[in-house]
């Protein structure tokens, strides 16, 4: 369960950053997220959609406690992100494009490292490792160094790293970005399995096909604000364009870039 209540995030700009924003920029701060609220329920996949720069990653980072909200409140599995950040991280599996892996470690070493950081006991670790490595077909390169892996292999290792402590809440930011259809499908299946086991899944993507395949609930984000928040069924019922992608573009253009 993730509860996001009226959350905003403002970044104060340094003098250099202001200069880098160009001559048209006025002001001291940038508001990346403005008064956003939504709930992600256990046993459901929540899709967070939006164009680049909409504030998705900032929102996800606040949920993962790496950024603090400027105002508002977020709770993950009943723990407040500002008051109990470690408890939040213990129940969370977080993956974004900026969570990379150590090139000089082997796949086994890396997954073991994160299991140790999460305090997973040895016996349980071996059992979960078996399951995850089998599901993602990772066994053949388990002792290979990360530096020698392809993009698809790396992403699978990232997923394994995210799930090794069996988190109740999964936050996956563009988990299938850069992957071929086969690798993507494996990950989609894994997300479905997690949902079926009662996990809360927050999923952000640019691939509309995946939204149709996976999402039970949906939020559309643009310029730091939510344009839509509801179930997938409600969204499709209110569609004025023939496809999801067209509807997505229509709603964003209606607000103005």
């Amino acid at each position: 369960m993730i509860q996001v209540r009226d959350v905003s995030k403002t970044f104060k700009l340094s003098r250099q950053q202001k200069r880098e924003m160009g001559s048209h920029f006025r002001g001291e701060t940038v508001e990346a997220v403005a008064g956003v609220s939504f709930d992600c329920q256990p046993g459901r996949v929540f899709g967070l959609l939006g164009p680049n720069g909409a504030g998705k990653t900032t929102t996800l980072r606040m949920i993962a406690t790496t950024l603090r909200p400027t105002s508002g409140a977020i709770s993950v599995a009943g723990h407040d992100v500002t008051r109990e950040p470690e408890a939040v991280r213990a129940t969370l599996g977080f993956l974004t494009g900026s969570t990379q892996l150590y090139d000089r470690l082997s796949v086994n070493e890396l997954v073991r490292y994160y299991a140790d950081l999460h305090g997973v006991p040895s016996g349980l670790y071996r059992q979960r490792r078996e399951q995850i490595f089998a599901a993602l077909e990772m066994e053949s390169y388990a002792d290979r160094r990360i530096a020698k892996l392809s993009t698809g292999m790396r992403q699978k290792v990232s997923i394994a790293r995210t799930m090794i402590h069996d988190p109740d809440v999964l936050v996956l930011d563009e988990a299938t970005a850069g992957l071929d259809v086969i690798a993507s499908r494996t990950i989609i299946q894994l997300i479905r399995q997690a949902r079926d086991r009662g996990k809360t899944v927050l999923f952000s993507t640019h691939r509309m096909g995946e939204v149709e395949l996976l999402c039970d609930d949906l939020a559309l984000m643009h310029q730091g604000r939510l344009l839509f928040n509801g179930t997938y069924a409600e969204f499709s019922a209110s569609m004025q364009s023939p496809t999801l992608e067209d509807e997505f573009i229509r709603r964003i253009e209606a607000v103005g870039a």
Partner: protein, 397 residues
């Protein structure tokens, strides 16, 4: 504690698998001194041998005087005495290395000497540096010649030679060998220790801070349910161990180069071993540990601020210069540890090390050095923890 150990183990493994880190931390400090020694010894040996063996071409213009001196020069066997060179071309010929030296005796030389007056001789040579090996070789004959004249005068006057020695000084230096070594070699050792502690910790500090940020692995690490301070402590441990390892390697390298150079007398080697006993090394290490923690704090803070490995390198380079100056204070003669300068970081370690080796350190000053270092180490640890906790440090873009 378990988390710190987990982070430490992983960071150490990661660092040891990095070839660049190994070169910086182990190979360079270990090989630098043996190589430097080897080059220095072989170059100076080759030059000295060349100059020593060379036959010297020397002009003597005696105008019928000082025949004994010419005889003495010829007796040497390594001097080619030339007499037929015009007087005004002498300086030019020596300048252009066609001649090695010249002696010009005044026309009244023999008469002056006979009258017990000083006889004038002009000695020409070329010695741009201070070593003046050619000059020394010729001066030796001149001295012997002068001694002969002096002996002859004493006997003619029936005087005892001791009258020109009104005071006979017998020197007794009570400074122990340790003290003498302490002030000479003692200045160099802390300089090396401090420099390599810094250089050795520099690379892992950059890699574990800016390097992780640049590669995007830091955010992954921060999603783990562990206290950021514990992560930082794990990283600190690796940086400190690397610095100390580097310093230890440089000392090992120095020992090896001492052992391998055949010209060093065995007594000197024994002395070095005696001066650098285990108790001294432990005492020195106890100073280096807090100093390296201080370095690690500063380096990690700078490294975490930087956006990339490259930026971190350019931010850290000026620190090298800021470090060399106080570290080099130990090399300066006459600068001693006082209650005042014992508070100045780096400089205090440099001076205290020198005194520890010499065995002249006072407990009061040593305690001040410890207090100063521990305060700094704690402050740098605390400062970097605060810095690491800031959002704008981690996500600076």
């Amino acid at each position: 504690m378990k988390v710190i150990a987990t982070v430490f183990r992983k960071e150490m493994l990661d660092t040891l698998r990095d070839r660049r880190a190994i070169i910086f931390m182990i190979v360079v400090p270990m090989l630098l001194f043996p190589m430097l020694f080897q080059v220095m010894i072989s170059v100076s040996k080759r030059n000295a041998a060349k100059v020593q063996a060379k036959e010297l071409r020397v002009v003597v213009i005696d105008q019928g005087n000082a025949s004994r001196f010419v005889e003495m020069l010829r007796e040497r066997g390594d001097v080619d005495v030339v007499t037929s060179v015009p007087r005004d071309s002498i300086a030019g010929l020596i300048q252009s290395d066609s001649l090695d030296g010249a002696f010009l005796f005044s026309s009244s030389f023999d008469d002056d000497v006979a009258e017990m007056k000083p006889g004038r001789v002009d000695f020409y040579f070329k010695s741009a540096d201070e070593t003046g090996i050619v000059r020394d070789r010729l001066q030796e004959t001149l001295d012997r010649y002068e001694k002969e004249i002096l002996d002859e005068r004493f006997s003619r006057l029936e005087l005892d030679q001791s009258i020109v020695e009104p005071v006979r000084v017998e020197s007794h230096n009570v400074a122990s060998m340790e003290e003498r070594v302490g002030t000479r070699v003692g200045g160099l050792l802390p300089y090396m220790f401090i420099l390599f502690c810094f250089l050795g910790s520099m690379y892992p500090a950059i890699d574990l801070g800016a390097g992780e940020k640049e590669r995007g692995t830091l955010e992954t690490l921060l999603t783990a349910p562990v206290n950021r301070f514990h992560i930082l402590l794990g990283k600190f441990g690796v940086v400190v161990v690397s610095g100390l390892l580097s310093a230890a390697m440089s000392i090992a390298g120095l020992f090896v180069s001492f052992k391998r150079s055949p010209d060093l007398p065995p007594e000197f080697m024994n002395l070095i071993v005696r001066v650098l006993g285990w108790d001294t090394i432990l005492l020195l290490m106890s100073l280096l540990v807090p100093l390296t923690i201080f370095f690690a704090g500063v380096l990690l803070s700078v490294s975490l601020t930087a956006r990339s490995f490259k930026e971190a390198q350019s931010l850290i380079s000026p620190l090298n210069i800021a470090l060399i100056l106080p570290a080099a204070m130990g090399l300066m003669p006459g600068v001693q540890l006082t209650l005042g300068n014992a508070w100045i970081p780096v400089m205090n370690v440099s001076l205290a090390t020198k005194e520890i080796i010499a065995g002249t350190i006072s407990p009061t000053e040593l305690s001040v050095v410890y207090v100063s270092l521990i305060v700094l180490a704690v402050a740098s640890l605390w400062g970097s923890a605060w810095w690491f906790g800031r959002e704008s440090t981690i996500f600076r873009s």
